[in-house]
């Protein structure tokens, strides 16, 4: 730790001071974080989300035993429920799991934050999670298990402290499951740094819904890492409405041939919210297909970031990848940063990307207004359609309707 210099920010200094309590087997992860410090704009992956400048303070890690006082917006959905309160598993708020699903709360973690063969990429935010996460949830879904109901993992933050939830899921061959990762709660001063890793076997079919519904004043950094075997299907849906500062990372890797991933995302931002969606889809093997669609609606002085990269490794022939980012900027003060990238090292592939940023189409607005819709209603209808494109791929009616209702409420609040 010889490189600790007076240049460390207040938040970095606080994190380093908290590091005294990090257990010996996680000191290596902590050291990696200290080495790197909080990523800043000269680190390419964080160019548009300068955590060093944006993260003003680092609250202490939360203890177990936080009280959940609010109901989840997903409470009415018939699902298996797992609840993590401030990163700690709470069995009283969790339901029994069906046959074929095993859950284990483990207190120590193997330090795999920088393992090149792991699901995750080396990243200071992941290193920070690895250092401070005191308990992790290991979920094992046995081969050939077909879950009748979704598994909703609710991650609730109860106060102005830091939580470092970590969930690992192993899904056996020929299994079929639906996971929801719902980030909720939080207050001004909360810091959430979560890591969700999923290893998918062969011939699996997985839906994964990741929701940022936290209080709009808190900070959320979420990482999802997925690696998938052959002839499998992953469908990921992301929905961002919360957090003053948020970053949602996805690292997805194809490890078996003839698999398919569809990833969509809708972010609705207002006031001074800053939300970053960073995506790396790694085609390590031939004949896989990936589709990514990211939609941002930016009001007031909000900032959206989309960084998407499709990597096609040498030999990953017949890769078919398409990535699209669309943003609607409603006010002059709002900003969108789009950075789509393709890194292709094979010569027989079909890859494409597109990124658009614009205002609502004036001619369409006039058409709707000429039919009697007041301006705000016409705008809301167009935005609902825009967001709907990112939500329509959610096959579960219950979840899709809840998200559509949340989007509608957001739009209503806007025109009120």
């Amino acid at each position: 730790m010889s490189n600790i210099t007076p240049l460390k920010t207040e938040a970095e200094q606080a994190l380093i001071a908290q590091g005294a309590k990090v257990a010996p087997d996680r000191q290596s992860a902590f050291a990696r974080f200290v080495d790197a410090g909080l990523p800043h704009r000269r680190v390419e992956a964080y160019h548009y989300t300068d955590l060093r400048a944006l993260l003003k303070n680092a609250p202490p890690p939360a203890q177990a035993g936080g009280r959940v006082t609010t109901a989840s917006p997903l409470a009415d959905i018939d699902a298996y429920k797992i609840t993590l309160v401030d990163g700690h598993y709470d069995s009283s708020l969790s339901s029994a799991l069906p046959q074929g699903v095993k859950l284990q709360s483990v207190s120590t973690l193997a330090d795999d934050g920088a393992d090149e063969k792991g699901v995750l990429s080396p990243d200071p935010v992941i290193a920070l999670n690895a250092a401070f996460s005191e308990s992790a949830l290991d979920i094992e879904i046995a081969a050939k298990t077909e879950l009748a109901k979704p598994i909703v993992i609710r991650l609730v933050t109860t106060g102005a402290h830091a939580s470092y939830p970590r969930v690992r899921v192993n899904i056996g061959d020929h299994a079929k499951a639906f996971f929801v990762e719902s980030h909720e709660g939080g207050v001004s001063g909360s810091l959430i740094d979560s890591v969700f890793e999923v290893r998918l076997g062969d011939h699996v079919e997985i839906d994964h819904l990741r929701l940022n519904l936290v209080d709009p004043s808190s900070t959320v950094l979420t990482t999802f890492g997925g690696a998938m075997g052959r002839e499998s299907l992953y469908r990921g849906h992301n929905f961002v409405i919360g957090g003053a500062l948020s970053r949602h990372q996805i690292f997805f890797r194809f490890e078996g041939e003839q698999s398919k991933a569809e990833i969509s995302s809708a972010s609705l931002l207002n006031k001074k919210q800053h939300a970053d969606s960073t995506l790396v889809v790694d085609h390590a093997v031939p004949e896989c297909q990936s589709r990514e669609f990211f939609a941002h609606v930016l009001d007031d002085e909000s900032t959206g970031v989309f960084q998407g990269k499709i990597i096609v490794r040498p030999g990953a022939q017949q890769t078919d990848g398409k990535m699209m980012s669309r943003a609607i900027v409603l006010e002059d003060g709002a900003t969108m940063n789009n950075k789509p990238e393709l890194e292709i090292f094979a010569d027989d592939v079909a890859c494409g990307h597109g990124a658009t940023v614009g205002a609502l189409d004036e001619d369409l607005l006039f058409y709707l207004r000429a039919r009697g819709l007041p301006k705000t209603e016409a705008e809301a209808l167009m935005l609902q359609a825009f967001v709907g494109e990112a939500l329509e791929s959610i096959e579960h009616d219950g979840f899709r309707e809840i998200l559509e209702a949340l989007a509608e409420a957001w739009l209503k609040a806007r025109s009120a």
């Binding site: 001619d363 369409l364 207004r369 039919r371 009697g372 016409a378 167009m382 359609a385 709907g388 494109e389």
Partner: protein, 220 residues
């Protein structure tokens, strides 16, 4: 009654004048036709009546039943009874036609201080109107005008007009790009809407529409 008096219009930056002192009165129940070469300002007139923002009215007034349209927003003009059937109806992906029709109808009713229609009442009206115009039900479930042919889009405009019951219907080249059969359906649809109270402003390039039997226009 629509009265246009001494209307001078330029495009928004004020540099190019398009209408120079137009006067036009269309009394209740009358049909007025405007013909003229491309670029002579026919569509501009229709947009200015409906309230599109790209134009600057330099002088003059437009009154509908005595109310000054130029002081109103486009949606207020619609509630006051203006309907513009677009020359090129726009596609709105993601907004189901049915959702749009209901939103438009109820917004106008609200604008006029009337109660919203109940869903069964609304459905009945849409179904009856769609049937007359040969619009199949599945088209109503699709995104508004998305993937519709030119003729289907024009028929959808007429369906909207039938539902919204305006006091003045402005048809901007509604007869363009239609084959004989579609023209007949559209003409019959428009004719069915004619009444002693409702007037029309028809913008067209074709004498044939004006003289064709289904849309027998009275002389003005």
């Amino acid at each position: 009654m629509l009265e246009i008096r001494n209307l001078h219009v330029a495009i928004e930056d004020g540099t190019k004048k398009i209408l120079n002192g137009l006067n036009l009165t269309i009394r209740d129940g009358e049909v007025a036709a405007i013909m003229g070469p491309n670029g002579s300002g026919k569509s501009t007139l229709s947009y200015v009546i409906a309230g599109k923002e790209d134009y600057e009215v330099l002088e003059g007034e437009i009154l509908l039943d005595g109310k000054n349209l130029l002081e109103m927003e486009p949606d207020e003009r619609a509630a006051a009874g203006v309907f513009l059937a677009f020359q090129y109806p726009l596609e709105i992906p993601g907004v189901a036609t049915m959702t749009f029709l209901k939103a438009a109808l109820n917004a106008q009713r609200k604008g006029r201080g009337e109660d919203e229609l109940t869903t069964p009442d609304f459905m009945r009206r849409v179904k009856a109107g769609a049937e007359k115009l040969g619009i199949p039900q599945d088209m109503l479930k699709r995104g508004l005008n998305v993937g519709f042919s030119g003729g289907e889009k024009k028929r959808m405009e007429i369906l909207q007009m039938a539902l919204l019951e305006p006091s003045i219907g402005i048809l901007d080249e509604t007869d363009s790009g239609l084959d004989i059969d579609a023209l007949k359906i559209v003409s019959e649809g428009v004719n069915a809407l004619r009444s002693a109270k409702r007037s029309f402003l028809v913008i067209t390039h074709y004498q044939r529409l004006l003289s064709s039997k289904p849309m027998a226009m009275p002389t003005i």
